[in-house]
């Protein structure tokens, strides 16, 4: 089946006009459409439905997974940051407990302690001790800050009030980002003093550097006004404002789905860090996170597309194939119907011919005898016997009667073979050809068509149905007569090929165009419709030849002529289902 015929099978535009309006059993287009749509519905719906469900479920699963992973990462990182700050607060607290107030308030000792802290914990830049009046009594670090009065500073009041304090990040005099941790202590007299340390934010960055965040993730800290406390590789440097809304307060780690300024879908996990102005933020590009899922979905989609196309092709092919088979069978049915009708018609013609021949035969016999008697009487009388004109007239009557007799005999012979059950007999093909040419001889002579017969003398007889062979030859010769112009040539050739006889009817007529050659054996295909052709002759001929177990071939060249070659078996083979054939034909 060619590719196009899958989409548009040959029955699509086929209209069997000859079959008549009531002989169609099937609407092939409707059967085809029903088959295709029904099969497509039952095969494709589950496939597409499953694919859609998979899409939804897997998307929800990956969303949940992203949220959980982000929440876990936020919790872990928050714990690290909290631990970092608590560790430093504890270190300062340890210093106050391990040293006498006088030691803490002495510059040398404080410098020693700072060295130890730097060495043990890292991140400490300077260290200062401030008395209950807010005056920095001792200071160890890169600047000369002893004697500075912090009593009016907000952070100093806050640390006295709450016991500890962690500041926002600021650049300060050194222009490096850092922040302050301060804790409140009490001297033996009960008066409070404050130990204050500056912490380098590099330590924070070290903390985040070790994190492996999927989806081009960004980990940073902002304060509650949305200012970056650590550098972010997406949103800028330290102390830049973040172009994201400050997330609402929550005691727990939270994850939200949002979009950044470029409207990229973004997953943000955040956590407020207790007792500090810090909010830990982890931003992930959702598109990046979804990439593996999208790749899988693309594969599924491709598989789905290929499956749908394959199913579509198979269904179209299957439907076209099956409906074409039904169509072919139906065409055969219609053709058989035509043939039965034709056989009945021929049987009727045969009966009619027999009756006519018989009815004519009797008066003909009387004319024959009467004329014969007159001739006899004339011959007896001398006066008449010498009258050549009278005898000539009588001979003419007798000859005409003989001619009529020959015609009625031929008609009876024809009638005997029409429509009856097959009668197999031994046939000399040469005799049959001459007999048939006898019927057509008049037309040949009127039109000056030269008909020659080329039959070798030593041909064996064949076992076949004489009536059918006669019909085949009559039809083929009629065709040849129609094809040649007046004065044309027709040759009937017979050759023996192994177990077959090949009978060829060759004409030098108009020929058959190649496009028509494939269709000439179809019922009701005719190029002579305007001249009374029924289009049945060759299809019936084809059927008859098949009945005889033979084959027919046609060779033709436009303007050069046509050769029909009928191959007939010498011995008739028993045919399958011949009993049925007989009962149908009868």
């Amino acid at each position: 089946m060619q590719l196009m015929s899958i989409f548009k099978p040959k029955f699509w535009d086929y209209e069997d006009v000859a079959a008549g309006p009531f002989k169609h059993l099937f609407n092939f287009r409707r059967i085809w459409k029903q088959t295709v749509f029904l099969t497509l519905a039952v095969t494709l719906s589950p496939l597409i439905f499953m694919a859609a469900i998979d899409y939804r479920v897997s998307r929800e699963a990956i969303d949940t997974d992203i949220q959980l992973r982000t929440a876990r990462l936020v919790s872990n990182t928050r714990r690290s940051v909290t631990f970092f700050l608590e560790e430093r607060k504890s270190a300062l607290s340890y210093v106050t407990h391990d040293n006498l107030l006088e030691d803490i308030m002495s510059h040398e000792r404080l410098a020693d302690i700072l060295e130890h802290l730097k060495h043990s914990f890292g991140g400490f830049t300077d260290l200062g001790a401030i008395d209950e009046r807010g005056i920095q009594k001792a200071y160890a670090g890169p600047y000369q800050l002893e004697g500075v009065d912090y009593s009016q500073e907000q952070w100093y009041r806050e640390v006295l009030e709450r016991g500890s304090f962690v500041s926002d990040v600021f650049l300060g005099v050194r222009q490096t980002p850092h922040f302050v941790i301060a804790i409140r202590c009490h001297c033996p007299t009960g008066l409070p003093y404050v130990l204050r340390a500056t912490i380098d934010t590099d330590k924070f960055n070290d903390l985040f550097a070790g994190l492996d965040v999927a989806g081009h993730g960004d980990v940073f800290i902002i304060n509650r006004r949305g200012i970056l406390q650590t550098a972010s590789h997406t949103y800028g440097a330290v102390l830049d404002p973040v172009p994201l809304p400050v997330p609402p307060f929550s005691e727990r780690s939270e994850v939200i789905d949002t979009a950044d300024l470029d409207l990229n879908p973004t997953v943000i996990g955040y956590a407020y860090i207790e007792d500090t102005p810090f909010i830990l933020m982890i931003c992930k590009n959702k598109r990046e996170l979804m990439l593996p899922w999208k790749a899988t979905q693309l594969e599924i989609l491709m598989f789905l597309t290929v499956s749908v196309v394959a199913i579509l092709l198979v269904i179209l092919w299957g439907a076209s194939f099956l409906v074409s088979r039904i169509h072919d069978a139906d065409q055969k049915r219609v053709a058989t119907l035509h043939q039965v009708e034709y056989s009945n018609k021929m049987a009727s013609i045969g009966r009619l011919a027999a009756v006519v021949a018989h009815e004519i035969n009797n008066p003909l016999a009387v004319i024959n005898e009467k004329a014969g008697l007159i001739k006899d009487l004339f011959l007896l009388k001398e006066s008449y016997a010498a009258d050549e004109k009278l005898l000539g007239l009588l001979d003419s009557i007798i000859k005409s009667v003989e001619r009529c007799g020959a015609i009625t005999r031929r008609l009876l012979g024809f009638a005997r073979h029409m429509g009856g059950p097959p009668s197999i007999q031994r046939i000399e093909i040469k005799d049959v050809i001459h007999e048939v040419l006898g019927l057509l001889g008049k037309e040949a002579s009127y039109r000056a068509i030269e008909v020659s017969v080329d039959v070798p003398d030593n041909l064996p007889g064949i076992e076949s149905d004489l009536g059918k062979i006669q019909q085949v030859l009559i039809n083929l010769l009629n065709n040849a007569f129609a094809a040649v112009s007046d004065g044309g040539h027709i040759t009937v050739k017979v050759r023996k090929l192994d177990e077959y006889l090949a009978v060829a009817v060759v004409d030098d007529g108009c020929g058959i165009p190649e496009a028509d050659r494939k269709r000439i054996f179809e019922p009701f295909f005719s190029t002579k419709t305007t001249r009374g052709g029924t289009g049945l002759g060759l299809s019936i001929t084809y059927g008859l030849i098949k009945d005889l177990g033979g084959e027919v071939q046609v060779e033709s060249e436009l303007g050069q002529g046509t050769t029909f070659t009928v191959t007939l078996p010498l011995v008739r083979k028993p045919e399958k289902g011949s009993d049925n054939a007989c009962s149908v034909g009868g």
Binding site: D376, E402, R416
Partner: protein, 124 residues
Amino acid sequence: MRVLLVDDEIELVSTLAERLTLRGFQVDWFAAPLDALAAVRDNPYDVAVLDVKIPKMGGLELKKEMERLQPKLRFIFMTGHGSLEDFEAGVDEAGAGFYLVKPVNIEVLTEKIRQLSAEEGNHP
């Protein structure tokens, strides 16, 4: 030589009888098979020329009846219906020697009658 002609077509059989008479045969003709049988009962004939299809009694049946009456009688059949081959089969079955298809050629008929008589050796 006596010849019996039987055919339901009077015009045909009478004319044929006359023509045979002209050719020297002694001819009786009948259109009804029963009349013909009666004649056979009373008179000896050499050859009977019968139509195959005679009303009331078929030609072949008539032949059997006549054979019963005159076993030496020989027969020629004439037919105006059916093909030669079909008829031939039927005649063979009945054991008849000759058959002719209408319209018959008088010379052929004469020849056949003479031939049959010669076989019997009754007449030259």
